[in-house]
Symmetry: C2
Subunit: 336 residues, 2 copies
């Protein structure tokens, strides 16, 4: 199915939708027709694709017949309603929400890791959560080589993970707090300006947030290993673009720092940037925006555990964490 | 020695020195004479203490005779030269730098935890690193109750930990990056504006930074237990005041969340703020400035370990992390 594809972007006016358009324009997937879809409120706006302005259509009225790939990024409830409808019309749905991720019969895919779980008949493919994707890009090669028993991870997540609204709010609230004024309360959560907020998504009964549990559930599903123990703390920080993660793993078999560097250096999509000197590590500002790779630094043996390794992992959460990964799933399907 | 004390503040024009003046003014230590000291460059400036403007004197020329407590916070090299000189003149030196912390015969003191290590003859007392103090305020009661085997901690540290320069730089660089301009490079390190930087202090041979190793060394010394394993990742975030820490502990004996809450609720200097709801946890903005307590939230059982507990700990790094702890050491000495 590699000549002339009709591709629909659901949520085309959002931050991830916009990145999908950019990434599709940059890459080689042969797009015959690009169909931007959004809510009725956004219908009639235009988006740019390969230098052309295209009108956004209302999702509600749209007939998916003839569409090969429908990339959804407009919230779980939208995917719940319209995803199955698109599949019924014959489209592959690549869903960037949490709606279907934990269904046993829905593949949850990072193409570099588990593209073998993709089916052959159009259906729904779930795109993992941004924090999970960049973590597993760095950990999957290590897991394959020596086995990972346990992951302890603390995140430093950018506001772009909360969409355009998150980005605009950080900008606005930063100006307020610089001026000594307290931003107006927002039902979406605490203001992140000059703060670090240890809550993303709702609380679960076990005291973890749903964002944290996503990393637990998705790690096991993607690595196809229910034995892996994961202990995440997910924290939003005042960063516009790029999630960072302090990851501490315990492996089944001892692995050294040079072995980890060698494994990651030969992993497509991963770049090791690890010098023990000022600036010799990735950060959100230096490596977390407008880049496709997942960057790994601060690789060191954990002095508190005989088989422990620490890593610092940075990636563009909107690209590899969402839009790019979805496009890569489409590319993988198109090439099979 | 509780009536009429002469107290010298070395580094009185700095951020921690200023907080020491504020805290001494608020509390009950009977100050007869307050002597602000600084480098020659700052001599002649004035600082305020209890409504009075006091001239800053040059440290180099100052004779410590008659001074009961000399609180040092002007860098390790200043303490190295002038600390022993102050002790020779009969003063207690309470040193807020890393100069003497790891000397076996120098007490390293958090008064709520190990004031029993204070001597009776004037000498040097070291004030621990800010990140260690707030972590151990939360962990010492748990260690006493059930024993802690291992600590895995990722920090979210405020720029006030780097002094006035750090605070001013965040303000300046935030304005630059909001305007789309890249801040000028600074030999002090990467700009933290809208970023998360996984380096504080220099790199050690084992790949940890010195800031991280301080948390290892100081935890063992203060808790007087060389068996405790500590694995820190220290990260600077764009927060003005208040360090946050995602702490994961493994205890020797299993402890439940209600037991931890009960232990911490009865610990002076610690406040539990832990509701599983929006805003139901401490953050740097809400609890990290102008407060004396160490705040603990997000207490939950670690689903990846049978004897694991997670906590989120926030405190004012300039007060309890530095100035307040130093004043409390002086108070403890004054009352014995």
């Amino acid at each position: 199915m590699s000549t002339g594809l009709d591709i629909a972007i659901v949520g085309a006016t959002g931050l991830v939708g916009g990145a999908m358009l950019e990434i599709l324009a940059e890459r080689d997937l042969p797009v015959r027709r690009l169909i931007p879809l959004a809510s009725r409120r956004s219908a009639g706006k235009t988006v740019e694709f390969r230098g052309e302005n295209i009108s956004v259509q209302a999702l509600d009225d749209f007939d998916f017949s003839g569409v090969t790939f429908a990339l959804f990024s407009a919230g779980a409830s939208v995917s719940a309603v319209h995803g199955p409808r698109a599949v019924a019309a014959g489209a592959w749905v690549i869903d960037n929400t949490s709606q279907f991720r934990y269904d046993a019969d829905i593949p949850l895919v990072i193409p570099e890791i588990n593209s073998h779980t993709l089916g052959t008949q159009p259906g729904i493919i779930a795109n993992p959560n941004c924090s999970t994707i960049q973590m597993l890009m760095a950990l999957a090669p290590i897991h394959r080589a020596v086995g990972i028993e346990r992951i302890n991870v603390a995140t430093y997540q950018a506001v772009s993970g909360a969409g355009r609204g998150g980005v605009e709010r950080l900008r606005r609230d930063t100006v307020s707090r610089l001026a000594g004024e307290e931003p107006a309360p927002d039902p979406a959560g605490l203001s992140i300006a000059f703060d670090a907020v240890p809550q993303i998504d709702i609380f679960m009964d076990n005291g973890y947030t749903k964002e944290e549990m996503k990393m637990v559930w998705e790690t096991r599903k993607i690595l196809e290993d229910e034995r892996i123990m994961v202990n995440p703390t997910a924290v939003r920080v005042p960063v516009f673009h790029g999630h960072s993660e302090a990851i501490h793993i315990e492996t089944r078999t001892k692995v050294t720092v040079p072995e980890v560097q060698k494994l990651l250096n030969s992993t497509p999509g991963v770049q090791v940037f690890d010098e023990r000197a000022l600036g010799g590590y990735p950060t959100a500002v230096s490596k977390g925006a407008h880049r496709d790779s997942v960057y790994v630094g601060r690789i060191r043996e954990d002095i508190s555990h005989p088989r422990g390794i620490n890593l610092w992992v940075v990636a563009d959460n909107v690209r590899k964490g969402a839009a790019l990964n979805s496009v890569q799933i489409a590319e993988t399907l198109a090439n099979t």
